[in-house]
Symmetry: D2
Subunit: 308 residues, 4 copies
Amino acid sequence: MPLTEDQAAEIAALRAQVAETRRATVPALEAMLYNAMPVLDHGFVRVVDYMGDDAAVVQSARVSYGRGTRKVSEDAGLIRYLMRHRHSTPFEMCEIKFHVKLPIFVARQWIRHRTANVNEYSARYSILDREFYIPAPENLAAQSSANRQGRGDVLVGDEAARVLDLLRGDAEQTYAHYAEMLNEDGADPTRQGLARELARMNLTLNTYTQWYWKIDLHNLLHFLSLRIDAHAQYEIRVYAEAMLESVKAWVPLCWEAFRDYRLGAVTFSGPMLTAVKRMLAGDAVTQPNSGMSKRDWAEFMTALGRAA
Amino acid sequence: MPLTEDQAAEIAALRAQVAETRRATVPALEAMLYNAMPVLDHGFVRVVDYMGDDAAVVQSARVSYGRGTRKVSEDAGLIRYLMRHRHSTPFEMCEIKFHVKLPIFVARQWIRHRTANVNEYSARYSILDREFYIPAPENLAAQSSANRQGRGDVLVGDEAARVLDLLRGDAEQTYAHYAEMLNEDGADPTRQGLARELARMNLTLNTYTQWYWKIDLHNLLHFLSLRIDAHAQYEIRVYAEAMLESVKAWVPLCWEAFRDYRLGAVTFSGPMLTAVKRMLAGDAVTQPNSGMSKRDWAEFMTALGRAA
Amino acid sequence: MPLTEDQAAEIAALRAQVAETRRATVPALEAMLYNAMPVLDHGFVRVVDYMGDDAAVVQSARVSYGRGTRKVSEDAGLIRYLMRHRHSTPFEMCEIKFHVKLPIFVARQWIRHRTANVNEYSARYSILDREFYIPAPENLAAQSSANRQGRGDVLVGDEAARVLDLLRGDAEQTYAHYAEMLNEDGADPTRQGLARELARMNLTLNTYTQWYWKIDLHNLLHFLSLRIDAHAQYEIRVYAEAMLESVKAWVPLCWEAFRDYRLGAVTFSGPMLTAVKRMLAGDAVTQPNSGMSKRDWAEFMTALGRAA
Amino acid sequence: MPLTEDQAAEIAALRAQVAETRRATVPALEAMLYNAMPVLDHGFVRVVDYMGDDAAVVQSARVSYGRGTRKVSEDAGLIRYLMRHRHSTPFEMCEIKFHVKLPIFVARQWIRHRTANVNEYSARYSILDREFYIPAPENLAAQSSANRQGRGDVLVGDEAARVLDLLRGDAEQTYAHYAEMLNEDGADPTRQGLARELARMNLTLNTYTQWYWKIDLHNLLHFLSLRIDAHAQYEIRVYAEAMLESVKAWVPLCWEAFRDYRLGAVTFSGPMLTAVKRMLAGDAVTQPNSGMSKRDWAEFMTALGRAA
């Protein structure tokens, strides 16, 4: 359970406050506002604010004085056109802010997306909670033999048990030593306590941190398209999936366009497109006569749902 | 008068719609929402959306679960501390969106601030209105003789009259030819009409354009500090001044901190600081014995409110 | 001819200076360095500096201590892999700087690419040259009737002649009035001269400006992919084509990967991919039974090289 | 000693290769190129490429065809003017690329500077070296009692010994378990080995990582001004100091301007400036009659070199 009673009470108090606004408002997202969606064993994602809606995309694309909307069908058509042709600026006109709790090794991947605003909990200034990520047994994967950055089978038996013991034991021990070195509140009056900015270096990378993360819709969709992908590490993918639920509630027309033109889309290189045309014309196209490398050919076959 | 009846009606319709929200809401800014503040002869600035408030800065700086606020005095103190020490990320957690109508030569300066989202009215796709900026007589300044990018005295008499005639005449003529080349709706059935993306090149740089412009509070304050400055060109400064009114309504605590630590602040170089200390110790400091160049010395004297 | 004798002499002097360096150096790009490639009637593009080469992409992808290169074939394979899977950061490790002379209406499109460093010639501070873009007769296109931001047939006869007269006449007249209002060097001793920052507003949008523009390879390729496209306006496309020649000389392996996986590539949406699979399986797929809109279907047919 | 023999040999091989170039070249920086400057116990900074020099700043500010330089004194004057008035774009025209080896907790601070290009060694793909940062005894500081993110006295005696034992012991143990879980090369043939992307989570935050980091001069100076500051954490400050040595060699005129107008500079708020003027006029200014808060007054006294 990721939230303390105090935290849950703070969230409940916020949710109880309702004000009137002239701004674009999305009831489906209001219903989710502030609530924490659990992710991994101690993490969460929660929406803490948003700006704009589907109509705001249309409004800015048309640089209009009012809502910019005409019929729903016309708005949907414009949004699909903008998504298909990779017009990015109208989608930048919507903004969303999340509060996220996540393991440090996930935060290190995530922060590489530079086009966002971030305020992270400071372990220079404050003390981190005693919480660390331990994979569920079904996520304890072996190294893939085919892909150096991929996962293979799930570990079982003694090996799995030993890995879980090591992860849990080391996290607990390093945290206990972190607390000892800090000597907070002069627990041991004979010691001064190590500076927080130094003591934190003893923590393991599965320790949880948290941050406020604010991003526009265009860059969020880019983040999601990369991190929802099957090649993304499981531990960040689950955060992307949770955030995607917010997107569906917030901007349903943008979500449908994103699903059709980005998530479900596939890009064929010049040689791949040539091969498709030849195949449709009845040619027997093979890797050797396609001009593609073996690796490209394998990806091409996969995209067409065929055995390589 | 910058708005047509249709546009005014669209704005009025928007202002009449009120919804309930759980988001941070600022009544003083709600009161201004969508209304156009006139700038120059045909331009305007209007706030079309916003996210966050003073408390959102505090909330993200503390990475808190609720509003993050304690006493108003503590919040104000934290905001002043963040501003004084140039902490930028908490101020990035507030966002505002403007609709702006402005002459193209002003837009060309403005767009150099890259950390914003922009959707401009497309003269490739649409036809620009017949509106151009003509300076009011009191803003018709001569070239400064002291500063190559500054203004001198106001022009008067025949020279002023001639300049206004030329500006007005050329803008009207080039616009008339633009319309003729476009031949919109087949006004002259014997002609095809020049492509819009080409015809626009005949317009002068004082033609008005418009855009949606969205930016976070940190970058907005940076923009305002540069463009409200006495060295900024008058025609962009008036837009900055109009936007500053929104900031005062929106985030009054941030505004006060900005006023004290940024707008009214002065930066002294190492040699300037040394000179201040010597002067306070009773030394007779002069430009030659200060180690400063004449230019630095002049700026130093100006900062101290003394004659150079 | 875009260069004066003085400018040509400055460039020749630069080209004559040779120094020794331990940095990555590309002879094919050195041969082009500083030379102006003419674009449009008075514009140019010239490379004024560069950092890195194909091997620098490999080196940073491997975070290696030396050049990072192994066999050429392995390097090419890695670069193709990075391009295919849209890894962007290794391509950001190469940087190039251009000096560009271009019409203002082109500069206004170009500047929308925010991830670049720009220093533009200041018409607030200096006086612009008397040079403006007049399209060659074969580029004087009518408005497209099918696409609001496209071109149709080339204008001919009286209409073409009239358009060229208007463009040329207005540019010459507004420039003459600009010069008159400036009254540079007290040409007319009875007048003070209008401030440069104001006088410039009388110029038309086809007046030439110039800038230094610096960008990393990843963002340059993104710019080129958008601006080399057949839907880009001709007047910016020719600049992209000139810059592409630099890319071919500079990073030939990256260029080949870009050509195959980006320029020649096509993205199929989920429904398009489904249709391809059905067609390959022998189904008679039509727009109505494809689940695609008419617009999508038309784009799909075009991608497959079939009549819609 | 941070480099293996192989790494040193790779660097020596690179340094032995010399080519001719027409580009701006800086002999003083060439002399440092590729060499690793040691930082902390196992880290380093080394320059691996650069673009531009002092003259390139001048050249782009003037948008000139040649080097843009006139007399050295004029160039220095222009650079000082640009620095004093915070013109940022000409300094963006120089670029530098570093290879840095640094502890992960330092990397986490560093990466918050978003305006840079980064390629980090991937612990998803590769295996991290067995190297971690252990502070030298003189850097083992107690928590400051005055400043929640500062350091107090150096720890001594038993407390210091215990802290060093804990840091060293935990880092060695967690690394040993990391290696055991990886089971690289099937060291234990009965186990599959945990996926690299998971095993890395067991490492402590003082483990060393490395990256290529490329940035323009403007943003580098901003980074340095923040990280060389006395309030920056010691473990990142030493990296900033090492990089500053490159800047001095690379762009000596920019360095001098940066030293005078940024590093040695102090910003006085409006109320502080008023107080200075009153003090120079002979007023007895005190905190209560200054209108400043106690905190502001203390900072003001410190800036003037007086006891608060």
